[in-house]
């Protein structure tokens, strides 16, 4: 066996070593997410048949027709872009960041704990709101600040990223024995969200209850919030 073959065999062996089973919670989450979601169908189907027919025509006719079709499509896309411009975060267009307005955010969140060690808890949070700037998956890395019985205060870093930028900052969480949980963070925007703050709060009434998201985006730096560890 040549050194090259030996190396390739070793590479193949090394790649074989690793997980082959998908994590159940990820699969289940994806199935939940798609259960009531509409598939993409219909919108472009009408193009398929004409294009297949065009394929049998002479090249010059085909080129003329495709050019006409492209021009019509470009017109339609341009028109729809102009129409959708005022709506923040419409797919394919950058979000509109209003320098004047404070925008209220409402929605829901689903939390998964991805790892727990005696010193650290990692969570991912799927946030759904009607504002595309806030939608996406957030990550938190938390440490326990105080624990008294089953009441705990946690603090850590939070990072929420989506297509146009990210929100990041410190997050504080209080959980009670009943399962009730409060969470808040003043997150600074980056990239398209630069110069804006997203005040993120969530509340869950019991361990089984849905987690509601309430907050606001405003065009300024984060406020100075009291340090929860200093509160009585």
């Amino acid at each position: 066996m040549t050194p090259e073959q030996d190396f390739e065999r070793h590479l193949a062996d090394w790649l074989t070593d690793g997980p082959n089973m998908a994590p159940t919670q990820v699969v289940d989450r994806a199935l939940r997410q798609t259960a009531h979601r509409r598939q993409r169908r219909g919108a472009w189907r009408w193009l398929v048949l004409p294009l297949e027919r065009i394929g049998h025509w002479f090249p010059t006719q085909r080129a003329t027709l495709l050019a006409t079709l492209a021009a019509v499509l470009a017109g339609v896309l341009l028109t729809s872009a102009v129409i959708t411009l005022p709506f923040a975060g419409s797919p394919g267009s950058p979000p509109v960041m209003d320098d004047e307005a404070i925008v209220a955010i409402e929605g829901s969140a689903e939390v998964d704990i991805t790892s727990v060690t005696p010193r650290q808890i990692d969570r991912v949070i799927d946030i759904e709101t009607d504002d595309k700037r806030i939608e996406g998956r957030a990550r938190q890395r938390l440490t326990v600040l105080t624990q008294s019985g089953d009441t705990r205060q946690l603090r850590g870093a939070m990072h929420l990223e989506n297509d146009w930028g990210a929100w990041e900052g410190a997050v504080d969480i209080v959980t009670y024995p009943s399962g009730e949980e409060f969470e808040y963070a003043a997150l600074e925007g980056t990239e398209a969200y630069q110069g804006f703050t997203y005040l993120y709060t969530t509340h869950r009434a019991t361990a089984e209850a849905e987690r509601t998201v309430v907050g606001a985006i405003w065009p300024d730096e984060p406020p100075s919030l009291p340090d929860p560890s200093l509160l009585p």
């Binding site: 074989t16 070593d17 690793g18 089973m21 989450r29 798609t34 979601r37 598939q39 998956r137």
Partner: protein, 182 residues
């Protein structure tokens, strides 16, 4: 029920069929994502995004027999996107293979060295290595899967292997320098 039939039914909006398709194929897709990204959290994200996109776009899949390759392509694209977005995935400057990089690394690299060397590669180069050396696909099958030309597959594979070997050799030299002259 055969996978083909399940894929067809899922493409018509049958979520139970989609669930069966996901149960049958998610292990393979996760294995691909994990091996490209080398990070369990990122691989989880890639798998979830892939499965949602598969559901969204299944009506557009014309030939259900091509489902495996089509889903693998979506997985690779999700991996590229996540890798580029993820700040932790700091891509270092690719190792430039030396012109005579064919006659070295005769000793088998250990696992950590291989891991570090692999992380020097771009996601696109990793994907080609994973599809070829892990899934055992031919260059033509990889070209079909990734929707790129066979020539591009060949050059990516060649570059990836040479870069990986160059990175390992560089590590070996550094280690030797630290150990000092014998």
């Amino acid at each position: 029920m055969q996978l083909r039939e399940l894929v067809e039914r899922a493409g018509h909006g049958d979520h139970d069929a989609f669930t069966a398709v996901v149960r049958a194929s998610s292990g393979r897709l996760y294995a691909i994502a994990y091996r490209i990204l080398r990070d369990a959290d990122l691989a989880n994200d890639a798998l979830q995004e892939t499965l949602v996109k598969v559901w969204d776009d299944l009506p557009a899949l014309r030939d259900p027999d091509r489902f495996d390759g089509w889903a693998a392509r979506i997985t690779c694209r999700c991996c590229y996107r996540l890798a580029k977005r993820e700040r932790r995935f700091a891509l270092p400057t690719p190792c430039q293979p030396e012109p005579d990089a064919t006659a070295f690394v005769t000793e088998v690299a250990d696992q950590d060295e291989m891991e570090r060397g692999f992380r020097h590669l771009s996601p696109e180069h990793r994907a080609v290595l994973v599809l070829h050396y892990y899934l055992g696909l031919t260059l033509g099958e990889i070209a079909d899967t990734l929707d790129i030309s066979p020539g591009t597959v060949g050059s990516r594979l060649h570059y990836a292997v040479r870069s990986l070997r160059a990175a390992l050799e560089s590590e070996a030299r550094t280690a030797q320098a630290w150990e000092g002259p014998a």
